[in-house]
Symmetry: C2
Subunit: 217 residues, 2 copies
Protein backbone atom coordinates (compact mmCIF):
# COMPACT_ATOMS: atom_id res chain seq x y z
CA UNK A 1 0.00 0.00 0.00
CA UNK A 2 1.22 3.46 -0.89
CA UNK A 3 0.39 6.31 1.42
CA UNK A 4 -0.84 9.02 -0.93
CA UNK A 5 0.63 11.77 1.27
CA UNK A 6 4.10 10.31 0.71
CA UNK A 7 3.79 9.34 -2.96
CA UNK A 8 4.70 12.81 -4.27
CA UNK A 9 5.69 13.81 -6.92
CA UNK A 10 2.70 12.37 -8.78
CA UNK A 11 2.11 12.37 -12.50
CA UNK A 12 -0.18 14.94 -14.09
CA UNK A 13 -2.99 12.41 -14.38
CA UNK A 14 -2.80 11.77 -10.65
CA UNK A 15 -2.79 15.47 -9.85
CA UNK A 16 -5.81 16.06 -12.06
CA UNK A 17 -7.70 13.28 -10.28
CA UNK A 18 -6.83 14.80 -6.93
CA UNK A 19 -8.03 18.22 -8.13
CA UNK A 20 -11.38 16.85 -9.31
CA UNK A 21 -11.88 14.99 -6.04
CA UNK A 22 -11.07 18.14 -4.08
CA UNK A 23 -13.56 20.12 -6.17
CA UNK A 24 -16.27 17.51 -5.60
CA UNK A 25 -15.59 17.38 -1.89
CA UNK A 26 -15.61 21.16 -1.51
CA UNK A 27 -18.81 21.45 -3.54
CA UNK A 28 -20.43 18.83 -1.31
CA UNK A 29 -19.28 20.57 1.88
CA UNK A 30 -20.63 23.93 0.74
CA UNK A 31 -24.02 22.53 -0.26
CA UNK A 32 -24.30 20.41 2.88
CA UNK A 33 -23.45 23.41 5.07
CA UNK A 34 -26.29 25.32 3.43
CA UNK A 35 -29.00 22.66 2.98
CA UNK A 36 -28.00 19.72 5.20
CA UNK A 37 -26.81 16.27 4.15
CA UNK A 38 -30.19 14.73 3.32
CA UNK A 39 -31.25 17.74 1.28
CA UNK A 40 -28.14 17.78 -0.88
CA UNK A 41 -28.38 15.69 -4.05
CA UNK A 42 -25.58 14.14 -6.05
CA UNK A 43 -26.81 16.06 -9.10
CA UNK A 44 -26.38 19.35 -7.27
CA UNK A 45 -22.89 18.42 -6.07
CA UNK A 46 -21.79 17.38 -9.57
CA UNK A 47 -23.26 20.56 -11.08
CA UNK A 48 -21.54 22.79 -8.54
CA UNK A 49 -18.19 21.02 -9.10
CA UNK A 50 -18.82 21.31 -12.84
CA UNK A 51 -18.46 17.58 -13.58
CA UNK A 52 -20.85 15.00 -15.04
CA UNK A 53 -23.02 13.01 -12.63
CA UNK A 54 -21.15 9.83 -13.58
CA UNK A 55 -17.84 11.41 -12.58
CA UNK A 56 -19.12 11.83 -9.02
CA UNK A 57 -19.53 8.05 -8.75
CA UNK A 58 -15.94 7.46 -9.88
CA UNK A 59 -14.83 9.20 -6.71
CA UNK A 60 -17.68 8.43 -4.32
CA UNK A 61 -19.48 5.21 -5.31
CA UNK A 62 -22.13 5.84 -2.61
CA UNK A 63 -23.25 9.18 -1.17
CA UNK A 64 -22.22 7.91 2.30
CA UNK A 65 -18.61 7.80 1.06
CA UNK A 66 -18.66 11.58 1.49
CA UNK A 67 -19.16 10.95 5.21
CA UNK A 68 -16.18 8.58 5.31
CA UNK A 69 -14.04 11.15 3.49
CA UNK A 70 -15.11 13.93 5.85
CA UNK A 71 -14.47 11.67 8.81
CA UNK A 72 -11.00 10.63 7.52
CA UNK A 73 -10.02 14.29 7.04
CA UNK A 74 -11.14 15.14 10.56
CA UNK A 75 -9.12 12.18 11.84
CA UNK A 76 -6.05 13.51 10.08
CA UNK A 77 -6.56 17.00 11.51
CA UNK A 78 -7.08 15.63 15.01
CA UNK A 79 -3.93 13.49 14.83
CA UNK A 80 -1.97 16.53 13.72
CA UNK A 81 -2.48 18.17 17.13
CA UNK A 82 -1.43 15.09 19.10
CA UNK A 83 0.87 12.94 17.01
CA UNK A 84 4.43 13.74 15.91
CA UNK A 85 5.55 13.40 12.30
CA UNK A 86 7.29 10.18 13.23
CA UNK A 87 3.90 8.79 14.30
CA UNK A 88 4.42 8.83 18.07
CA UNK A 89 2.41 10.84 20.60
CA UNK A 90 3.54 14.37 21.39
CA UNK A 91 5.28 14.51 24.79
CA UNK A 92 3.08 14.94 27.87
CA UNK A 93 1.24 12.95 30.51
CA UNK A 94 -2.23 11.46 30.06
CA UNK A 95 -4.12 14.36 31.59
CA UNK A 96 -2.33 17.03 29.57
CA UNK A 97 -2.81 14.98 26.39
CA UNK A 98 -6.52 14.75 27.01
CA UNK A 99 -6.61 18.49 27.58
CA UNK A 100 -4.95 18.94 24.19
CA UNK A 101 -7.47 16.50 22.68
CA UNK A 102 -10.31 18.51 24.14
CA UNK A 103 -9.02 21.76 22.67
CA UNK A 104 -8.43 20.13 19.27
CA UNK A 105 -11.91 18.57 19.16
CA UNK A 106 -13.60 21.84 20.01
CA UNK A 107 -11.60 23.73 17.39
CA UNK A 108 -12.25 21.05 14.78
CA UNK A 109 -16.01 21.24 15.28
CA UNK A 110 -16.41 24.97 15.66
CA UNK A 111 -14.55 25.64 12.44
CA UNK A 112 -17.10 25.38 9.58
CA UNK A 113 -19.83 24.66 12.11
CA UNK A 114 -22.70 24.35 9.65
CA UNK A 115 -21.18 21.50 7.72
CA UNK A 116 -20.01 19.80 10.91
CA UNK A 117 -23.48 19.89 12.41
CA UNK A 118 -24.98 18.28 9.31
CA UNK A 119 -22.21 15.73 8.92
CA UNK A 120 -22.24 14.63 12.56
CA UNK A 121 -25.96 13.94 12.33
CA UNK A 122 -25.51 12.12 9.01
CA UNK A 123 -22.58 10.11 10.35
CA UNK A 124 -24.54 8.89 13.38
CA UNK A 125 -27.47 7.92 11.15
CA UNK A 126 -25.11 6.10 8.80
CA UNK A 127 -24.09 3.92 11.75
CA UNK A 128 -20.77 5.30 12.97
CA UNK A 129 -21.77 4.63 16.59
CA UNK A 130 -21.78 0.92 15.86
CA UNK A 131 -18.42 1.00 14.09
CA UNK A 132 -15.38 -0.24 15.98
CA UNK A 133 -13.05 1.53 13.56
CA UNK A 134 -12.80 5.18 14.41
CA UNK A 135 -9.79 7.49 14.16
CA UNK A 136 -11.00 9.30 17.28
CA UNK A 137 -11.34 6.11 19.33
CA UNK A 138 -7.93 4.94 18.08
CA UNK A 139 -6.29 8.16 19.19
CA UNK A 140 -7.94 7.95 22.62
CA UNK A 141 -6.78 4.33 22.86
CA UNK A 142 -3.20 5.28 21.93
CA UNK A 143 -3.12 7.90 24.70
CA UNK A 144 -4.60 5.43 27.18
CA UNK A 145 -2.23 2.60 26.21
CA UNK A 146 0.76 4.86 26.68
CA UNK A 147 -0.66 6.22 29.93
CA UNK A 148 -1.24 2.71 31.24
CA UNK A 149 2.33 1.67 30.41
CA UNK A 150 3.48 4.60 32.57
CA UNK A 151 1.12 3.76 35.43
CA UNK A 152 -1.16 6.75 34.83
CA UNK A 153 -4.25 4.73 33.87
CA UNK A 154 -5.84 2.01 36.01
CA UNK A 155 -4.27 -1.40 35.35
CA UNK A 156 -7.45 -3.44 35.17
CA UNK A 157 -8.86 -1.42 32.26
CA UNK A 158 -8.73 -2.34 28.57
CA UNK A 159 -7.52 0.66 26.51
CA UNK A 160 -9.43 -0.47 23.38
CA UNK A 161 -12.69 -0.64 25.24
CA UNK A 162 -11.95 2.62 27.08
CA UNK A 163 -11.18 4.38 23.81
CA UNK A 164 -14.54 3.31 22.39
CA UNK A 165 -16.34 4.34 25.58
CA UNK A 166 -14.86 7.82 25.42
CA UNK A 167 -15.66 8.06 21.71
CA UNK A 168 -19.30 7.12 22.46
CA UNK A 169 -19.58 9.78 25.13
CA UNK A 170 -17.91 12.35 22.85
CA UNK A 171 -20.31 11.47 20.05
CA UNK A 172 -23.31 11.89 22.33
CA UNK A 173 -22.24 15.40 23.29
CA UNK A 174 -21.42 16.20 19.69
CA UNK A 175 -24.78 14.95 18.43
CA UNK A 176 -26.70 17.09 20.89
CA UNK A 177 -24.49 20.03 19.94
CA UNK A 178 -25.21 19.32 16.27
CA UNK A 179 -28.99 19.40 16.65
CA UNK A 180 -29.16 22.26 19.13
CA UNK A 181 -28.61 25.41 17.12
CA UNK A 182 -29.39 27.54 20.20
CA UNK A 183 -26.18 26.60 21.98
CA UNK A 184 -23.49 29.15 22.57
CA UNK A 185 -19.88 28.72 21.54
CA UNK A 186 -18.59 27.74 24.95
CA UNK A 187 -21.08 24.91 25.42
CA UNK A 188 -19.21 22.27 23.41
CA UNK A 189 -16.06 22.93 25.43
CA UNK A 190 -17.98 22.85 28.72
CA UNK A 191 -19.84 19.62 27.94
CA UNK A 192 -16.77 17.81 26.64
CA UNK A 193 -14.72 18.94 29.61
CA UNK A 194 -17.28 17.36 31.91
CA UNK A 195 -17.12 14.09 29.93
CA UNK A 196 -13.31 13.94 30.09
CA UNK A 197 -13.41 14.74 33.80
CA UNK A 198 -15.89 11.98 34.65
CA UNK A 199 -14.05 9.58 32.38
CA UNK A 200 -10.75 10.26 34.15
CA UNK A 201 -11.80 10.71 37.76
CA UNK A 202 -15.22 9.05 37.89
CA UNK A 203 -18.46 10.12 39.51
CA UNK A 204 -17.79 8.71 42.97
CA UNK A 205 -15.77 10.78 45.42
CA UNK A 206 -12.51 9.07 46.35
CA UNK A 207 -13.73 7.87 49.74
CA UNK A 208 -16.42 5.74 48.14
CA UNK A 209 -14.12 3.91 45.75
CA UNK A 210 -13.37 0.92 47.90
CA UNK A 211 -17.07 -0.01 47.92
CA UNK A 212 -17.55 0.09 44.18
CA UNK A 213 -17.91 -2.82 41.83
CA UNK A 214 -17.34 -5.79 44.15
CA UNK A 215 -17.62 -8.16 41.15
CA UNK A 216 -14.65 -6.65 39.37
CA UNK A 217 -11.99 -9.23 38.65
Amino acid sequence: MIDSAVALPQGRRQRNKARVQERLFEAAVELIARHGYDNTSIDEIAARADVARGTFFNYYPRKDDLISEWSARRGTELRRSLVTEAGGLEPGDTVSRFHRCLAALVELNEDRQEVNRSMVTAAVRAGCLGARESATAELFTAILTDGQARGEIGEGLDPDRLGLLLRDAYLGVLTRWAVGAEQDHASLYRELHEVFKVFLIGALPRTAHRDCCPHTA
Copy 2:
Protein backbone atom coordinates in the same frame (compact mmCIF):
# COMPACT_ATOMS: atom_id res chain seq x y z
CA MET B 1 -53.40 14.11 32.16
CA ILE B 2 -54.70 10.63 32.84
CA ASP B 3 -52.22 7.82 33.28
CA SER B 4 -53.68 5.04 31.14
CA ALA B 5 -52.42 2.37 33.57
CA VAL B 6 -54.61 3.91 36.29
CA ALA B 7 -57.66 4.80 34.23
CA LEU B 8 -59.22 1.33 34.47
CA PRO B 9 -62.03 0.34 34.10
CA GLN B 10 -62.23 1.68 30.55
CA GLY B 11 -65.23 1.54 28.25
CA ARG B 12 -65.48 -1.18 25.58
CA ARG B 13 -64.47 1.27 22.85
CA GLN B 14 -61.28 2.07 24.75
CA ARG B 15 -60.51 -1.60 25.32
CA ASN B 16 -60.99 -2.37 21.64
CA LYS B 17 -58.62 0.42 20.67
CA ALA B 18 -56.02 -0.91 23.09
CA ARG B 19 -56.43 -4.41 21.63
CA VAL B 20 -55.91 -3.21 18.06
CA GLN B 21 -52.87 -1.22 19.07
CA GLU B 22 -51.43 -4.25 20.87
CA ARG B 23 -52.05 -6.40 17.78
CA LEU B 24 -50.32 -3.87 15.53
CA PHE B 25 -47.37 -3.53 17.88
CA GLU B 26 -46.95 -7.29 18.23
CA ALA B 27 -47.20 -7.77 14.46
CA ALA B 28 -44.54 -5.10 13.96
CA VAL B 29 -42.25 -6.66 16.56
CA GLU B 30 -42.50 -10.10 15.01
CA LEU B 31 -41.82 -8.85 11.49
CA ILE B 32 -38.98 -6.59 12.60
CA ALA B 33 -37.39 -9.46 14.54
CA ARG B 34 -37.41 -11.53 11.36
CA HIS B 35 -36.60 -8.99 8.63
CA GLY B 36 -35.20 -5.92 10.40
CA TYR B 37 -36.79 -2.48 10.79
CA ASP B 38 -35.95 -1.09 7.35
CA ASN B 39 -37.18 -4.23 5.59
CA THR B 40 -40.54 -4.27 7.32
CA SER B 41 -43.27 -2.35 5.52
CA ILE B 42 -46.40 -0.81 6.96
CA ASP B 43 -48.46 -2.90 4.53
CA GLU B 44 -46.97 -6.08 5.94
CA ILE B 45 -47.59 -4.99 9.53
CA ALA B 46 -51.21 -4.08 8.79
CA ALA B 47 -51.76 -7.37 6.94
CA ARG B 48 -50.29 -9.44 9.77
CA ALA B 49 -52.39 -7.58 12.37
CA ASP B 50 -55.40 -8.06 10.06
CA VAL B 51 -56.31 -4.37 9.84
CA ALA B 52 -56.53 -1.94 6.92
CA ARG B 53 -53.44 0.10 6.05
CA GLY B 54 -55.26 3.30 7.08
CA THR B 55 -55.89 1.86 10.54
CA PHE B 56 -52.15 1.56 11.12
CA PHE B 57 -51.82 5.33 10.69
CA ASN B 58 -54.52 5.99 13.29
CA TYR B 59 -52.22 4.43 15.86
CA TYR B 60 -48.80 5.23 14.43
CA PRO B 61 -48.89 8.34 12.22
CA ARG B 62 -45.24 7.75 11.17
CA LYS B 63 -43.36 4.46 11.05
CA ASP B 64 -40.83 5.92 13.52
CA ASP B 65 -43.62 6.09 16.12
CA LEU B 66 -43.12 2.32 16.45
CA ILE B 67 -39.64 3.12 17.75
CA SER B 68 -41.02 5.57 20.30
CA GLU B 69 -43.57 3.00 21.45
CA TRP B 70 -40.89 0.30 21.77
CA SER B 71 -38.67 2.71 23.62
CA ALA B 72 -41.47 3.80 26.00
CA ARG B 73 -42.26 0.15 26.81
CA ARG B 74 -38.60 -0.56 27.54
CA GLY B 75 -38.52 2.50 29.78
CA THR B 76 -41.51 1.18 31.72
CA GLU B 77 -39.89 -2.23 32.12
CA LEU B 78 -36.61 -0.72 33.26
CA ARG B 79 -38.33 1.50 35.82
CA ARG B 80 -40.16 -1.54 37.16
CA SER B 81 -36.86 -3.01 38.43
CA LEU B 82 -35.73 0.19 40.13
CA VAL B 83 -38.71 2.31 41.06
CA THR B 84 -41.36 1.55 43.70
CA GLU B 85 -45.07 1.73 42.95
CA ALA B 86 -45.17 5.06 44.76
CA GLY B 87 -42.65 6.40 42.22
CA GLY B 88 -39.57 6.56 44.47
CA LEU B 89 -36.35 4.63 43.99
CA GLU B 90 -36.07 1.18 45.54
CA PRO B 91 -33.91 1.27 48.67
CA GLY B 92 -30.15 0.93 48.24
CA ASP B 93 -27.04 2.99 47.75
CA THR B 94 -25.83 4.35 44.41
CA VAL B 95 -23.49 1.48 43.61
CA SER B 96 -26.02 -1.23 44.37
CA ARG B 97 -28.66 0.63 42.35
CA PHE B 98 -26.36 0.77 39.35
CA HIS B 99 -25.71 -2.93 39.74
CA ARG B 100 -29.46 -3.50 39.63
CA CYS B 101 -29.67 -1.23 36.56
CA LEU B 102 -26.97 -3.24 34.86
CA ALA B 103 -28.77 -6.52 35.46
CA ALA B 104 -32.09 -5.04 34.29
CA LEU B 105 -30.59 -3.59 31.10
CA VAL B 106 -28.94 -6.88 30.18
CA GLU B 107 -32.14 -8.83 30.80
CA LEU B 108 -34.21 -6.30 28.86
CA ASN B 109 -31.97 -6.57 25.80
CA GLU B 110 -31.34 -10.29 25.81
CA ASP B 111 -35.04 -11.07 25.97
CA ARG B 112 -36.35 -11.01 22.36
CA GLN B 113 -32.85 -10.26 21.11
CA GLU B 114 -33.67 -10.16 17.40
CA VAL B 115 -36.18 -7.35 17.69
CA ASN B 116 -33.97 -5.47 20.15
CA ARG B 117 -30.99 -5.59 17.79
CA SER B 118 -33.07 -4.18 14.93
CA MET B 119 -34.80 -1.58 17.06
CA VAL B 120 -31.61 -0.30 18.70
CA THR B 121 -30.07 0.27 15.28
CA ALA B 122 -33.26 1.92 14.00
CA ALA B 123 -33.52 4.10 17.13
CA VAL B 124 -29.96 5.39 16.75
CA ARG B 125 -30.59 6.18 13.08
CA ALA B 126 -33.82 7.93 13.96
CA GLY B 127 -31.79 10.30 16.11
CA CYS B 128 -32.25 9.10 19.68
CA LEU B 129 -28.61 9.92 20.49
CA GLY B 130 -29.36 13.59 19.94
CA ALA B 131 -32.50 13.51 22.08
CA ARG B 132 -32.34 14.93 25.57
CA GLU B 133 -35.52 13.10 26.56
CA SER B 134 -34.76 9.51 27.39
CA ALA B 135 -36.34 7.29 30.03
CA THR B 136 -32.97 5.59 30.53
CA ALA B 137 -31.10 8.86 31.02
CA GLU B 138 -33.85 10.07 33.39
CA LEU B 139 -33.55 6.97 35.52
CA PHE B 140 -29.76 7.31 35.67
CA THR B 141 -30.21 10.96 36.63
CA ALA B 142 -32.70 10.08 39.39
CA ILE B 143 -30.22 7.60 40.90
CA LEU B 144 -27.42 10.15 40.65
CA THR B 145 -29.48 12.99 42.12
CA ASP B 146 -30.43 10.85 45.09
CA GLY B 147 -26.83 9.64 45.45
CA GLN B 148 -25.53 13.18 45.39
CA ALA B 149 -27.96 14.28 48.09
CA ARG B 150 -26.53 11.50 50.26
CA GLY B 151 -22.91 12.42 49.49
CA GLU B 152 -22.28 9.33 47.36
CA ILE B 153 -21.71 11.21 44.08
CA GLY B 154 -19.16 13.99 43.56
CA GLU B 155 -20.60 17.41 44.45
CA GLY B 156 -19.32 19.31 41.47
CA LEU B 157 -21.14 17.11 38.96
CA ASP B 158 -24.46 17.84 37.29
CA PRO B 159 -26.78 14.80 37.51
CA ASP B 160 -28.65 15.69 34.29
CA ARG B 161 -25.47 15.86 32.29
CA LEU B 162 -24.10 12.73 33.99
CA GLY B 163 -27.29 10.82 33.20
CA LEU B 164 -26.97 11.71 29.52
CA LEU B 165 -23.29 10.79 29.51
CA LEU B 166 -24.03 7.36 30.92
CA ARG B 167 -26.89 6.90 28.46
CA ASP B 168 -24.55 7.77 25.56
CA ALA B 169 -21.96 5.25 26.72
CA TYR B 170 -24.69 2.63 27.25
CA LEU B 171 -26.04 3.28 23.76
CA GLY B 172 -22.60 2.89 22.23
CA VAL B 173 -22.15 -0.53 23.80
CA LEU B 174 -25.69 -1.50 22.87
CA THR B 175 -25.25 -0.41 19.25
CA ARG B 176 -22.09 -2.48 18.83
CA TRP B 177 -23.88 -5.40 20.48
CA ALA B 178 -26.81 -4.90 18.07
CA VAL B 179 -24.68 -5.06 14.93
CA GLY B 180 -22.31 -7.80 16.09
CA ALA B 181 -24.25 -11.03 15.80
CA GLU B 182 -21.12 -13.01 16.68
CA GLN B 183 -21.10 -11.88 20.31
CA ASP B 184 -21.79 -14.33 23.08
CA HIS B 185 -24.42 -13.83 25.73
CA ALA B 186 -22.04 -12.64 28.43
CA SER B 187 -20.54 -9.87 26.32
CA LEU B 188 -23.28 -7.29 26.88
CA TYR B 189 -22.97 -7.75 30.63
CA ARG B 190 -19.18 -7.55 30.51
CA GLU B 191 -19.07 -4.43 28.32
CA LEU B 192 -21.72 -2.59 30.32
CA HIS B 193 -20.07 -3.52 33.58
CA GLU B 194 -16.88 -1.90 32.34
CA VAL B 195 -18.80 1.26 31.39
CA PHE B 196 -20.46 1.54 34.80
CA LYS B 197 -17.13 0.94 36.51
CA VAL B 198 -15.30 3.65 34.58
CA PHE B 199 -18.24 5.99 35.02
CA LEU B 200 -18.22 5.50 38.78
CA ILE B 201 -14.55 5.21 39.60
CA GLY B 202 -12.85 6.76 36.54
CA ALA B 203 -9.86 5.67 34.52
CA LEU B 204 -7.18 7.27 36.67
CA PRO B 205 -5.89 5.39 39.72
CA ARG B 206 -6.68 7.24 42.93
CA THR B 207 -3.18 8.56 43.42
CA ALA B 208 -3.37 10.55 40.17
CA HIS B 209 -6.62 12.31 40.97
CA ARG B 210 -5.16 15.43 42.50
CA ASP B 211 -3.42 16.21 39.19
CA CYS B 212 -6.47 15.92 37.01
CA CYS B 213 -8.43 18.72 35.42
CA PRO B 214 -6.72 21.79 36.87
CA HIS B 215 -9.21 24.02 35.01
CA THR B 216 -12.21 22.57 36.81
CA ALA B 217 -14.22 25.24 38.58
